[in-house]
């Protein structure tokens, strides 16, 4: 139902403006604060006019947080999560949609359940596994041979440990599944008649056809991966594996009683925000299309 009265129009506009200010407000503070001097940023009342100190602040933040190294760590982790997820989801969805096996429903529900168990919920058991990968094998070997082996094998302080638990969830799988199910059965049958096996079909047909899906998932996963905080915090003890999200804490003004330099902190957080913003800006056209409609 669409209603058009002057009052309703005014009300909806008012709501939208308030919502917009709520969203954009903190951003304005960050942008303005990041380019002001320490005196300006601590002045009361706060002035929303940007200053000219951004480069100086950014340089200070970069060295204080050792952001160069952390950026590379974050980028590696994010790209591994993104591509791992895009590839793994496509494969699982392919298996779930196009193959008939007696255990199909079991697999489907196993994948589906992971949707209900995000990493935050299963963080303790996941950590236990990642911290001691060898225990299950040790128990098996001990059970069958009686030999007790003492081997340490864990994923702490490694990119594998940072990314694997985040890759293995079902969101992407369902995005692909919905798309694959809109494809007519005849497409697969025609490919079969043309002599193409399942693997060829996957690469020649499914992947090119799900291009918008892939790009949408890439966008989501990049932001998701970049924003990870809790899991890296658990997995990483070695500073050389720290990600930018962990460095964000170190950017807080030193608590030595002096005037807090919020301008440096804000400039640092702006830098950290930049990569996901760029990715979203480039891919957002596909992002919406891939999630909303299935292009055929």
């Amino acid at each position: 139902m669409i209603q058009r009265t002057p009052f309703a129009n005014a009300l909806t506009y008012a709501i939208m403006v308030i919502g917009f200010l709520l969203l954009i407000g903190p951003f304005l503070v960050v942008i303005a604060g990041a380019s002001q001097t320490m005196q300006q940023v601590n002045a009361v009342p706060f002035r929303f006019v940007p200053g000219d100190q951004f480069l100086a602040n950014a340089t200070a933040a970069w060295t204080r947080g050792d952001l160069g190294h952390a950026m590379i760590n974050s980028l590696i982790m994010t790209l591994m999560i993104t591509f791992g997820k895009v590839a793994l989801s496509a494969c699982t969805a392919f298996a779930i949609v196009f193959f008939r096996s007696p255990l199909k429903h079991l697999f489907f529900w196993t994948v589906f359940i992971t949707l209900m168990l995000p990493l935050e919920v299963r963080v303790v058991p996941t950590y236990a596994v990642a911290a001691d990968m060898f225990t299950p094998f040790r128990l098996l070997i001990q059970f069958f041979t009686g030999i007790e082996l003492k081997i340490e094998w864990n994923l702490l302080n490694s990119y594998a440990g940072l990314t694997l638990p985040l890759i293995a969830t079902a969101t992407g799988t369902f995005l692909y599944r919905q798309f694959f199910m809109t494809l007519p059965d005849e497409l697969a049958e025609a490919a079969r008649m043309d002599g193409s096996g399942p693997v060829r079909f996957f690469f020649d047909m499914l992947l090119p056809l799900s291009r918008t899906n892939i790009l949408a998932l890439t966008t989501i996963m990049f932001v998701y991966g970049w924003n990870q905080y809790l899991w890296p915090l658990l997995m990483v003890t070695d500073p050389s594996y720290q990600t930018v999200m962990m460095k964000l804490r170190m950017l807080l003004p030193p608590e030595d009683g002096g005037t807090p330099d919020w301008n440096v902190t804000l400039a640092g957080s702006l830098l950290i925000m930049l990569p996901p913003v760029l990715v979203v800006a480039v891919l957002q056209r596909w992002f919406v299309r891939g999630l909303v409609s299935s292009e055929k």
């Binding site: 049958e189 079969r192 008649m193 193409s196």
Partner: protein
């Protein structure tokens, strides 16, 4: 070039059986049309030949090789689908050439063969387009080109014309027929459209409820339907089928009593279904023959079809354009005995006795009806 042998083929999905033992032979180079209403198992049978459905029981052999366990690509079949099933992200040239690409044919040769095939199906100017930019008829041609390029032993068509409009359907029908004469591969064409079936088929297979009702040449099936199902399914308007009983060497249809040939004497007292095609019914002088009340009249331009009611049963007759008939008017029909068909009322099978009123027997002797 290959003969297709279908031996005692059954198909079940779980407990429901959709094909109840089908035996058919499609000789090399013939154009076979499988005709039947939806759900009769005709597409299932086709897909079993193609290798897209598993064969529950029985055997299918192509060119003498049993193919039950072979992958579709190893069977030498090509298939044209009802909804074309073109690859939407590929150009017409890539669509047609995909099978060659899969089998590793070098690029130059692939290009040459794609161009040759495109010329045959009239798509030379469209090779760079995507399927979405083509009309229905052109898409259908791409689908045919894609099937042709592999030079298959067997062509399978799964209702390929039912997504086209009526006019295009007629011209594509002619093209498919021409294509068959040119390639001469054994072709199996599934349809529910009897006009398509009659015009295309060298050999027609009529199926119903997972069984073969009749196999034969189209005209022979039209003239000698093996069951009431075939009689009602083939021919438009449908054959009139009226329940009756043989009494005193004659059948009574409403007010008409039609004497049967002496050879039918053995049928005395049997309940039968009498069939006569609307186009073989003639108008009779008032007061004679079968009297029915006109219900409505369908104008066809060249003639018209009167739908009448005779003792509660519908009765149709094709009459010339020159006669005017008003609804509600009683009409007298003459039913020539030589055009009557008799069917057993219990089984629905045709009652055939030597010396039955003369009918076209052309080519009947060459047919081997494989009725299950």
């Amino acid at each position: 070039m290959a003969q297709i042998d279908i031996r005692a083929v059954r198909k079940s999905y779980g407990k429901t059986q959709t094909l109840h033992g089908v035996d058919l032979i499609f000789p090399t180079g013939e154009f076979v049309v499988i005709l039947g209403p939806s759900g009769c198992g005709k597409s299932t049978l086709l897909r079993m030949i193609a290798g897209l459905e598993e064969i529950t029981a029985g055997e299918i052999a192509i060119g003498g090789t049993v193919v039950n366990k072979l992958e579709p690509r190893e069977r030498g079949c090509a298939m044209v689908f009802q909804n074309y099933a073109l690859y939407p992200h590929m150009s017409v040239a890539d669509n047609i050439g995909y099978a060659l690409k899969v089998s590793g044919v070098p690029k130059a040769e692939r290009r040459r063969r794609v161009e040759e095939t495109a010329a045959i199906v009239g798509l030379t100017d469209y090779l760079d387009r995507r399927p979405a930019a083509l009309s229905g008829g052109q898409r259908q041609r791409v689908a045919m080109g894609r099937a042709m390029i592999r030079e298959p032993k067997v062509f399978l068509f799964d209702e390929p014309l039912s997504n086209l409009d009526a006019k295009l359907r007629v011209s594509m029908r002619a093209e498919i027929r021409k294509l068959h004469q040119r390639l001469n591969a054994t072709s199996v064409f599934v349809t529910h459209d009897q006009v398509e079936a009659m015009t295309l088929a060298d050999r027609l297979v009529v199926m119903n409820k997972g069984r073969v009702e009749q196999v034969g040449q189209p005209l022979d099936i039209y003239h000698r339907p093996a069951s009431t199902f075939v009689a009602a399914f083939i021919g438009s308007p449908a054959m009139n089928l009226i329940d009756s009983r043989v009494e005193g060497g004659a059948v009574r249809l409403g007010s008409a009593v039609i004497p049967l040939a002496p050879a039918f004497a053995g049928l005395e007292g049997r309940t039968v279904t009498v069939g006569i095609r609307p186009e073989q019914v003639r108008l009779a002088a008032p007061g004679t023959g079968l009297v029915a009340i006109a219900d409505f009249v369908e104008e066809l331009g060249a003639g018209r079809v009167v739908h009448a009611v005779m003792e509660g049963q519908p009765f149709a007759a094709a009459i010339g354009a020159e006669v005017r008939i008003a609804p509600g008017q009683p009409i007298a029909f003459d039913l020539p005995a030589e055009h009557l068909h008799l069917f057993d009322r219990e089984t629905g099978r045709r009652i055939e006795i030597d010396g039955e009123p003369a009918q076209s027997r052309a080519a009947a002797a060459t047919l081997a009806p494989a009725l299950s």
